[in-house]
């Protein structure tokens, strides 16, 4: 079977003897936030434990150095102060061989201090890390064609900024700098992969499936040309049986009679640029004397960058003892997760002659090289019972263009296929993904991750189906919406309650929808030359990757000073704020000290194999006998994973601390005095423990401050620090631990370290051998079965959007009058952050629906001339900034966990807009974006 680099799966890149240290850099910025006016602590939180502003607010609003991009060598402690700068030259064609660079445009004093070509890398043993995923070469070799448009051919390094700046401006846009020879064979890689998810239910939604990915298998295959070569149908192995099931669905569609609606439609969703405001950048100093690679890089995946950098350098001629990576706040919407750019920064550092080298894309370069959203071509077929208005089956054949490096393309394709059902229950389904390579700029992780493309198509098609069935679009959706306990198209039952009907009912009653026809008539009568339309889109989006891991730590001293450490760092979503608030909600005490982006955890000596998607059950069963083994060490900041998955580590750490420290310490205080003290007359159970007004109480016991509890815990030598590691494979790992007098405890974690208080016995203190902590070997562990990888997803957050817009018949321009969104995301940790995500996601979706577009090839971003003058981003005037509204369904109870919602928020608005345009002018559109030109053409 093909080795699959699924979403965020990554090859384990361990190098014996190379230490890796990663730390979140802007400690000063954070310290400033905590210690400067407006006064923090008391002022930061308002009543109810909610924050008055973001943890990072003051640093950001005052222009403090917060982003990796803000730092120069002079700002980094221990670095040389002289800063070098680098830029790259790029290939803008792939049909002719690279023949070298011509720097004749540069006067002698502007020649680079160092020119780096592929041949230098070969001589020095510098090779691409993780071949395939990151392509095969950094720089195009002389005599070969570029693998993709925009691929770098050379790096120019300058030891001062003024020369660098002028040289770069001189060479920019010149067609004569990169020289080409004759025609050469294509070096674009072979197509990346193909997968198919087939399901036939067992007659009812509850019955065991006849075939599904979860029960049986995902069907994988290779290509002939650009066509996937699916296995033959049969009754042999699971893949053959899957193809038999697929054939059965096709036959049913082919044989459909008049009682069925068979609707076949094709859709296209375009490539776009994420246009993160902070372009890719890094600053790397390789100190040959000490063998330390110091780096300051913008990334969403610092652990991966450090590990892979270590592999890359250690294989070269450059001696390496350690990698010291610092990260700033950043933003990428996924595109800074497992991107190749940080390794170009490493290259720059290696050739800096001992000086720190900064490589920072300008916007043209960012368009030319940054990861793009995948273009999708989608062919859908719906089979619908005309009488019931219910789906009998749906099939989708999807092709996505990954460009010239694989990156996460295969994963994006499969995630798109598994999302295509949108919010509907499908008794039979067959969704396939063909992930194609091309000479386009490489595509990778980006907010929406394939689901934006496939769900938008389904939601546009559902509206058309409703029209053909003579049904109200919301009523049609209601008849087909997934209900709690129903299976998805992989055969897995989604987590918890499905609340789509509640959302549909609210949408149907909203004035935008209920008054749409009256408003249309009224508006159009008053505005000749304009057409009014209302559209609806309703989706749910998975969050997480199926292999989510994290670490969190809480410890306190005898005075109650609480320190919180976490692997999470800040990509703009407010993760550092919400993780901190979650601690406060459970302990009644906000951390006094925080450390985010922490990836070095010497107190957790875990052994990770980092093959969570591909390891067999047999191998995993063998590995898990080692109490220090875990499937993966930590996750990047991506996949809407912070509040739920990374937050799970926070919540578990706090809950374990309650169990092992707060509860026994509080009980001890409440039991003081004769006859068992104040606690004796009452029945006080663990489940009675509550946080009230920042204190701990239970069943009318004296409220205790955290400081009082901390003092008692230290006096008794109880646990006073807890570090946990968590793992989720569409279900949480759980483990049991023997904890002396705390007994045999089971937590939803797979590894635990504890620290004992000041008065702990010498025997206990002797156990604290892991960087001052006791790593507690688990007594047993339960990991979700590996077959659960085939579930594709079990966690969803739903959102629907109603859009009200106007089309100008003359110009074709679309103007949004208002929009209203309804989302369900469990318990909101910080409602202001949730609302900010909703508003930001909507804007990004509006851009995708109406404006943003990149050609894939020679006239596309790889040519180095794209910027925001011709790539139009939505501005405030485009998003109905003053009139948009949103509502969040209240949680079912206060025990609802928060749901990851940073991606779903951008999707529903896309089909809602297209459906509204159809309502306005009576024309359907199948290709995004729906530009003014396309509308004018349709109206002509």
């Amino acid at each position: 079977m093909k080795t699959i680099l699924s979403r965020r799966t990554f090859l384990k890149a361990s190098v014996a003897g190379v230490a890796i240290k990663i730390s979140m850099l802007p400690i000063a910025a954070r310290a400033e936030l905590i210690e400067t006016p407006p006064p923090p602590a008391a002022d930061w939180l308002v009543a109810g434990g909610k924050p008055k502003y973001r943890l990072d607010a003051i640093a950001k609003v005052t222009g403090g150095k917060t982003f990796a991009r803000d730092y120069r060598a002079r700002d980094l402690e221990g670095w040389p102060k002289e800063q070098s700068h680098a830029f790259m030259l790029h290939a803008t064609r792939t049909d002719r061989v690279f023949d070298g660079v011509d720097l004749a445009l540069l006067e002698p004093d502007l020649k680079p201090d160092r020119l780096v070509l592929h041949e230098d890398l070969v001589a020095d043993g510098v090779t691409i890390p993780v071949p395939g995923f990151y392509g095969d070469v950094f720089l195009v070799p002389k005599g070969q064609t570029a693998r993709l448009l925009g691929q770098p051919v050379a790096m120019l390094i300058y030891h001062d900024f003024a020369r660098f700046d002028l040289a770069k401006r001189t060479l920019r846009f010149s067609d004569n700098v990169v020289r080409y020879g004759g025609a050469g064979p294509s070096t674009t890689p072979a197509n990346y992969g193909a997968a198919r998810y087939v399901r036939i239910d067992g007659g009812t939604p509850d019955a065991p499936d006849r075939f599904s990915a979860l029960k049986d298998t995902v069907i994988w295959t290779g290509f002939k040309g650009d066509d996937p070569q699916w296995p033959a149908a049969g009754d042999g192995d699971a893949s053959a049986r899957g193809m038999t099931a697929a054939a059965e669905i096709q036959n049913e569609i082919a044989a459909a009679g008049d009682d069925m609606l068979v609707l076949k439609r094709s859709y296209f969703s375009q490539s776009i640029d994420a246009s993160a405001m902070e372009a890719d950048n890094g600053n790397v100093w390789y100190d040959a004397k000490t063998g330390v690679l110091h780096a300051m890089v913008a990334t969403q995946s610092p652990y991966e960058v450090a590990e892979v950098a270590a592999v890359m350098v250690s294989k070269s001629k450059f001696p390496l003892k350690s990698v010291d990576l610092k990260v700033g706040y950043t933003v990428g919407y996924g595109t800074k997760d497992h991107a190749i750019f940080p390794f170009y920064c490493v290259l720059a550092g290696l050739y800096g002659d001992g000086r720190p080298v900064r490589l920072a894309n300008d916007r043209y370069e960012q368009f030319q090289t940054a990861l793009k959203r995948h273009a999708f071509w989608m062919d859908n077929v719906m089979l619908i019972d005309r009488k019931t208005g219910q789906f009998r089956a749906m099939t989708g054949t999807y092709r996505n263009n990954g460009g010239g490096r694989e990156n996460f393309s295969t994963s994006v394709g499969t995630v798109g296929a598994t999302a295509a059902q949108s919010i509907y229950y499908l008794p039979k389904s067959d969704f396939s993904a063909a992930i194609l390579a091309s000479r386009a700029v490489d595509a990778g992780s980006m907010r929406g991750y394939g689901t934006l493309q496939t769900m938008s198509a389904t939601e546009m098609m559902v509206d058309e189906a409703a029209e053909l069935l003579g049904l109200d679009p919301i009523e049609f959706r209601r008849r087909n919406a997934l209900k709690s306990g129903m299976k998805n198209t992989q055969g897995a039952i989604p987590s918890g309650a499905m609340r789509h009907e509640e959302i549909l009912n609210k949408a149907a009653q909203h004035p935008i929808w209920s008054q749409r026809n009256a408003r249309k008539a009224e508006f159009e009568a008053a505005n000749p030359g304009k057409r009014y339309g209302v559209g609806y889109g309703h989706v749910h989006k998975d969050y997480g990757t199926g292999a989510e891991s994290a670490l969190a730590s809480l410890e306190f001293d005898a005075k109650g000073h609480l320190k919180f450490s976490h692997v999470a760092h800040e990509i703009g979503t407010g993760a550092t704020t919400s993780q901190t608030v979650m601690v406060g909600a459970i302990l009644g005490k906000l951390p006094d000290e925080t450390e985010f982006g922490k990836v070095r955890w010497p107190n957790m000596p875990l052994e990770a194999t980092d093959q969570p998607y591909t390891m067999s059950q047999e191998d995993e069963d063998r590995h898990k006998l080692n109490p220090r083994w875990t499937p993966t060490f930590t996750s990047p900041m991506s996949a809407s994973n912070s509040v739920y998955y990374l937050g799970h580590a926070t919540r578990e750490a706090a809950n374990v601390l309650i169990e092992l420290a707060v509860w026994p310490a509080a009980r001890s205080i409440w039991s003081r005095g004769i006859g068992g003290g104040q606690m004796a007359p009452e029945v006080v159970r663990r489940e009675d423990l509550r946080v009230a007004d920042g204190t701990i109480t239970a069943a009318a016991m004296q409220p205790l401050s955290f400081a009082e509890i901390a003092a008692e815990a230290h006096r008794l030598g109880l646990v006073t620090g807890v570090t946990v590691h968590t793992f989720n494979r569409w279900q949480w790992a759980e483990a049991e631990f023997d904890l002396d007098e705390a007994g045999h405890q089971r937590f939803a974690i797979d590894a635990l370290a504890v620290k004992y208080g000041d008065a702990a016995t010498p025997e206990r203190k002797a156990l604290m051998t892991a960087d001052g902590w006791r790593f507690v070997d688990r007594a047993s562990v339960s990991y979700p079965p590996t077959q659960r990888n085939n579930a594709g997803v079990t966690y969803y957050a739903p959102m629907a959007t109603l859009v009200e817009l106007v089309v100008d018949l003359g110009s074709g321009d679309v103007k949004l009058l208002s929009h209203h969104s309804i989302i369900e995301c469990g318990t909101q940790v910080v409602p202001e952050l949730v609302s900010g995500q909703i508003q930001g996601g909507l804007a990004m979706g509006i851009g995708h629906a109406l404006k943003e577009y990149l050609p894939l090839y020679e006239d596309g971003p790889g040519d180095g001339t794209w910027n925001w003058n011709r790539y139009e981003l939505p501005t405030a005037k485009d998003v109905a900034v003053w009139s948009q509204t949103a509502e969040v369904l209240p949680p079912l109870s206060d025990s609802d966990p928060p749901k990851g919602m940073a991606e779903v928020v951008m999707i529903a608005v896309v089909p809602a807009i297209v459906n509204a345009i159809t309502h306005a002018i009576g024309k359907r559109f199948y290709e995004l974006p729906v530009t003014s030109d396309k509308i004018r053409e349709a109206l002509a």
Binding site: V61, V331, D362, G574, T875, A876, V881
Partner: protein, 181 residues
């Protein structure tokens, strides 16, 4: 020698700077970043589109103007009074922040930004708008449109603009003298 320099002097965040030798072709943004270590005025597009790089220029009559630094050469600022985002808050004697500017305070209280990369430009744009309204108050029913017209040129990719705009509206409405009675 290809690089021709000239002396540059200006007032930057109330401090006299220069004369410094600065290349004639250097953009103000690069001067701020590389010569003055003021990186708050951010590189977004380098084309004058996104306005993440803007600074306040104080004119002779005391009125404020918003200037893009990615497309305006450093030497254009010769002799001028410039305020970057780093100079908006009031600082104490040790450089600590004593008080945020009203715009900054409004932004943090409204959770206006997310990644914060574009925030310096919005702080600058809103500060200049407030200064303009101080001189030319507007009717209440023109507030939203005025804010939209003033700040629409600022690009933000995270927030959808809503919380920025609401923060500015609240500030305009609660600051005496900006809206006609």
């Amino acid at each position: 020698m290809t690089i021709v320099t000239r002396k540059l002097s200006l007032t930057l965040n109330d401090k006299a700077i220069g004369p410094i030798d600065v290349p004639e072709t250097m953009m103000m943004q690069d001067f701020l970043h590389e010569y003055e270590n003021l990186t708050g005025s951010r590189m977004g597009c380098g084309q004058g589109i996104c306005h993440a790089c803007t600074v306040v220029v104080e004119k002779d009559d005391g009125s404020l103007e918003e200037m893009r630094t990615c497309i305006v050469g450093a030497h254009w600022f010769e002799g001028r009074k410039v305020r970057t985002v780093e100079g908006q808050a009031k600082l104490g004697t040790d450089g600590e922040i004593v008080a945020l500017s009203p715009v900054q305070q409004a932004f943090i209280e409204h959770f206006a930004f997310q990644c914060g990369y574009c925030t310096p430009g919005f702080v600058t744009g809103a500060t200049v708008l407030l200064d303009k309204l101080k001189r030319e108050p507007i009717e209440r029913d023109a507030v939203e449109q005025t804010i939209t017209d003033a700040l629409d040129r600022h690009i933000c990719r995270c927030t959808g603009y809503v919380r920025y705009f609401e923060a500015v509206r609240d500030l305009v409405l609660k600051t005496p003298g900006l809206v006609k009675a």
